[in-house]
Subunit: 518 residues, 2 copies
């Protein structure tokens, strides 16, 4: 697509900038779509006059080894078409400033994965390494100018300025340690098994680093509803959160909108309006000045840049809430998917990952191999037991409590273990976790595979090539290589010397003949 | 490597061409190495003064989508260094003349795989499509000038001209229907699971087409030994076959040499000296003017361009026989491989492959899916039963006898079957075969995985995306697509229309609420 200079672009004689304006002072990169039906209709009509770059294919072919891995041409072009190119540019500027050392899974909307070594650095993920899955561009909102509206089925609809929210005299504050993960975490394993839905907003090919933990400071939404609005009306069953980012679905235009059940809000620390992350101001790329933090739920509900909260009798009609993040059964796919035959992913199940060693590593050891990883469960279920199998899932070794970080209701536990390994060659190591409700993980990827490739909660499996130095033949081979200054890896590189002398194999066959003698 | 003009190249003052000459009239591309120890030593010494292109890595990264897939730089350079570039050129000329429509897995030495559609065309594979796994260049030998020597532990060592061998007055002839396969057939499945030995002569990444069947005409070796040599001496336990192609191992130079046990030779039709393939003169690229055909054994024993046969008390010391085609146990790998801890692959086990549909195909059907493939077993065991599982190996359907080609002692059976399939989405179809000894196949690739990636005899598994048109929702979706002129594939391409109207999903959720009501 070629976009003309934004100054010139018009639709029905009106410059685009006037049709889709940034209206609020200090709220750069924000267009209010929700509630502006005429504006939405016009934007949609306008988009339908354009051609956009097709969605890239990345499930049937190997992923590029570039960083960023995938380029969000289409999402950029949607923004550009509506005169919002500055949002695209600002978002990438934020990535370069605050998220330099990430695996950029998708450049726009920004999806950044924590590099595996950073995942295991500490129980709390450094803000600059915490994963990000944005659904739109990053708005640039002055915290001084920031406010949000609370409406719908509340006694008194109200507008709250951030400065008031942060005033401990007006609202009580909480600090909660929270792990947030995407429902797409470890999606690459599902893709490698079978391709699934491509989706218009690329279903990012996440690995095991699409998860992170931080201490968030904020005010429980429950307190806001009670203190500022006099409580909700009896018909209120869901709270809708609307973010300042622009979202697209089949060429219709929205602000990002999701919801959580009112039941969830009742537990004070579980739905927080947060402005601080690990003791620092919430970075804009993470939803600053203000975001929701919903514990134990899919990250998508922790709405960033929240400017409107609505008490509703039903879940939000936002496409993200209704039409996406659905968990389909195994026989549902392109041929029969509906919105109503998937179920909505809200609370997250128990899941885990081995972070080191890495898949396909060669491990030279003396009879045991050390592994590290993370385990997590949603819904206030803490991680109780972590087990590693060195043989594809037959024998399991449990991590000692002292080798796991402390328990939290809403956060992962990092763990390490040293597993006895006698066997050599390719072995499959598996992790499975049990949470405090005795939930554990499905055994195989296929057990949990689903068309939209969400929630890869099956046991994480890695292949390791085990070289057991306590065995004499192995010692000999390592010595032969060392003497020649050759490396053992890559393992598929053939040895340059003869495996065995003729005398040696003649002697071996004399003892154990190749064929029967009679 | 840069090779100087062959005319100029010298070693110790002697032109290369004189050091490694083509001595026999009418035998182009043949250098006699075996028995010429001084020549072999000099060639090795000379090669060790050169640098060669490293062996390509193709197990850790995706295979190129080119044809030829892999380029045998190193093997070409060995030949070129010894002044034998004309062999490389002639070999490729033969490919272009006689094997145009093949999957060229490796250009030199030529490894060509039958394209999957040609595999299923007929019980007998057309010569121009029959797979080839050469270990060296194709010699260009005038059939009129061709002879072979029989020596070693025979009563009367002798030389036999091809014209005499073909004289039915002198030697009785047989016609045998024989399936030949490489021990590398279906190797790609092992590579995809775990990388293994790279090997100096590339362990080609074969698929299911490295197998073929032909009627060979020739003289049983047993008759030659008896009629021309007066029989073998009592100490004879193995027959060695030496081919006119040049072979390399760790910079030592050989003629290709293998052996089979004398026991095997005793069954007349099982070891044939053959000059005819499917009623036509044996093509040079297939071993013409004369090759061995050893039934039920790994293809490597069916020595091409055989110019010498030796009766021995032990297996051939040729590197192909002693140091290669070894079947290692699962814990043997780069760290501990020896020659003596693998066993020699001679007779082939039962194996099979689904040839259509292809892995990852989308199948739109009305409740059943048709499959076709091949099944084979070595050692005179014929294929008795072929079974297909549509569910990863739980339920098995057997092919009807009338849907299988006729039984042969030494050849495959092609089969077809229509399997009831109700389920939709990604399914794993599996084939397993039982031979006349009640042998069947290991269930998983891992069950049979081995370091040198030989004999992928495990059940062949393919993934199919099942779309069952007898289901109403599926019918609806196909209709929606047809009305819009859109295709169903690629499946990962998102649908451009909304999955469901708001009215429809509101109604569905009114009937089956997303969340409990209380």
């Amino acid at each position: 697509m070629t976009v003309k200079d934004e100054q010139e672009e018009t639709f029905r004689g009106v410059p685009i900038k006037q049709l889709f304006p940034e209206e609020r002072l200090g709220w750069k990169g924000f267009v209010e779509w929700e509630g502006n039906d005429e504006r939405k209709a016009m934007a949609s009509e306008f988009l339908k006059t354009k051609q956009f770059t097709p969605i890239p294919e990345f499930q049937q072919d190997p992923l590029p080894k570039t960083n960023p891995i995938l380029i969000g041409h289409r999402w950029k072009e949607y923004h550009e078409a509506l005169g919002l190119k500055s949002i695209v540019d600002y978002s990438w500027e934020m990535v370069q400033t605050e998220k330099e050392d990430m695996l950029h899974v998708l450049d726009f909307p920004y999806n950044g994965e924590t590099r595996f070594n950073h995942v295991m650095e500490d129980k709390l993920t450094d803000n600059k390494y915490h994963f990000i899955r944005n659904h739109g561009g990053v708005p640039d909102i002055d915290p001084e100018a920031f406010y949000f509206d609370v409406g719908g089925l509340v006694k008194n609809p109200t507008r709250i300025y951030l400065s008031d929210l942060k005033d401990p005299e007006q609202f009580p504050q909480e600090e909660v340690t929270v792990t947030i993960q995407c429902s797409g975490t470890r999606r690459v394993e599902q893709i490698a098994l079978y391709p699934g839905d491509g989706d218009e907003l690329i279903n990012a090919p996440w690995g095991e680093g699409a998860i992170g933990t931080a201490v968030y400071r904020g005010v429980p939404l429950k307190k806001v509803l009670k203190k500022a609005c006099g409580g909700v009306l009896p018909e209120c069953k869901h709270l809708e959160f609307i973010g300042a980012d622009t979202y697209f679905k089949k060429l219709e235009v929205y602000n990002y909108a999701v919801s959580v059940p009112y039941r969830k809000v009742r537990q004070n620390e579980e739905v927080l309006l947060a402005w601080e992350m690990n003791g620092k101001p919430l970075p804009k790329i993470h939803g600053g000045p203000l975001r929701l933090v919903v514990t134990g739920y899919i990250g998508a509900r922790s709405c960033k840049w929240v400017y409107k909260i609505n008490a509703l009798s039903v879940p939000s009609y936002g496409p993200v809430q209704r039409q996406e993040y659905l968990y389909y059964s195994q026989q549902i796919g392109k041929h029969n998917t509906l919105v109503s035959n998937g179920f909505s992913i809200q609370q997250m199940p128990v899941s885990s990952a081995i972070m080191s060693p890495r898949d396909r590593d060669v491990i030279i050891h003396d009879g045991s191999i050390k592994l590290q990883g993370w385990s997590y469960s949603g819904g206030g279920n803490w991680v109780e037991r972590v087990e590693i199998s060195p043989d594809g899932g037959h024998v399991w070794y449990a991590c000692a409590p002292e080798d796991m970080t402390e328990k939290h209701y809403h956060a992962w536990r990092l763990w390490k273990i040293e597993v006895p390994v006698d066997a050599e060659g390719w072995l499959e190591f598996v992790v499975r976790t049990w949470d405090s409700s005795n939930n554990t993980e499905p055994t195989f990827i296929r057990s949990a595979w689903n068309w939209d490739l969400h929630v890869t909660s099956s046991c994480h499996r890695i292949k390791l090539y085990s070289v057991n130095r306590t065995r004499p033949l192995t010692q000999l081979r390592l010595k032969q290589l060392a003497e020649r200054g050759e490396t053992f890896t890559p393992i598929s590189k053939p040895l340059e010397f003869a495996l065995e002398s003729r005398e040696s194999y003649d002697a071996a066959f004399a003892k154990n003949p190749r064929e029967p003698l009679n």
